[in-house]
């Protein structure tokens, strides 16, 4: 006997992600899913972001990591609530993992939740976790060919942060070409050039984030 199905394989994940998003929206929390390769500077960008925003907003971080709490330890130093999810080798966070930890956060008081995904340019782009937006960090040392090699993550992200621009003189990375490729894959994406280690270019990133947190807060209070 043949049974017709026509159901999305990731439909269950999308459904839980939608529930997470609804819960966060009802509390006026802006949630960012931060993606990028291992070593691209996701945690460094988070540290810089927290230093600038922790007085202005109530922040929390969910750290996805294969096995360790190294990243979570770096966040905790800043006095921001951080929850560690160990995927035990799993290459991405999924919506259920995030749902299980949301209860540990004081969502009523929260303005901005940043979910740092497992370092990986492939799988995390397929799995929504309940975020409002995705942002991807690409570092100069990874090479300017990466947007075309991993297009989905750039297609899914609302912002692309090109980190480690201080290393440009030592590489053959073509900033203009990478920017053009990213915009070809995703017209309208925000492309931001930063150097976390040199504290350069972060204002535009912070502005981009603040606009979204403010908009969500107002929306949440209305709801």
């Amino acid at each position: 006997m043949e049974i017709q199905v026509m159901e999305d394989i990731l439909g269950r994940n999308d459904q839980i992600a939608a529930e997470n998003q609804q819960l966060l929206a009802s509390k006026g929390v802006f949630a960012l899913n931060l993606l990028g390769s291992p070593g691209s500077g996701k945690t460094s960008l988070l540290e810089k972001t927290m230093a600038r925003l922790k007085q202005k907003f109530s922040l929390a971080v969910i750290e996805g990591d294969l096995f360790t709490s190294k990243d979570a330890d770096r966040i905790a130093i800043h006095g921001v609530p951080v929850i560690q999810i160990n995927t035990s080798g799993g290459c991405h966070l999924d919506a259920q993992m995030v749902r299980e930890v949301l209860g540990q956060l004081d969502l009523e008081a929260l303005d901005l939740l940043i979910i740092e995904n497992v370092g990986n340019l492939v799988c995390p782009a397929e799995f929504n976790v309940g975020e409002d937006e995705k942002a991807v960090v690409l570092s100069i040392t990874e090479g300017d060919d990466k947007p075309l090699k991993y297009p989905l993550v750039f297609k899914e992200s609302a912002a692309a942060v090109l980190n480690k621009t201080d290393l440009l003189p030592y590489t053959n990375f073509d900033l203009a070409a990478a920017g053009a490729d990213i915009r070809a894959i995703h017209p309208g994406i925000e492309v931001l050039e930063v150097s976390c280690s040199q504290d350069k270019g972060l204002e535009a990133w912070i502005d981009w984030l603040c606009q979204r947190v403010d908009a969500k807060k107002t929306g949440g209070e209305r709801a």
Partner: protein, 113 residues
Amino acid sequence: MHEMAIAQGVLDIALDYAQRNEATRISCVSLLLGEMSGVETSSLEFCFAALTKGTIAESARLLFHRCPLVARCRSCGREGRVLPGSFFCPDCRQGALEIISGREMQVEYLEVD
């Protein structure tokens, strides 16, 4: 690892539909996969075989139906098939492409006893 999560999704859906139809064995699961869905089929088969052990889907075969990548050019309006990995219109060589199909990842149908 990504394929393991997809295999689990496939199995959950297959078992759910089989149970609702009071099936005792699943012999085949047909999947619709877009050319740009990024699914490695041999890896998916391996994961699926590992997950189905001890279930009514233990001997089930996976069938793959590929769905072509079709896109519309935002500049010249051309609509048609494009090669996976190309992001410029093959006609006007500019303009970002809007994907119409090619990212599907669905369970199409089951064959059960």
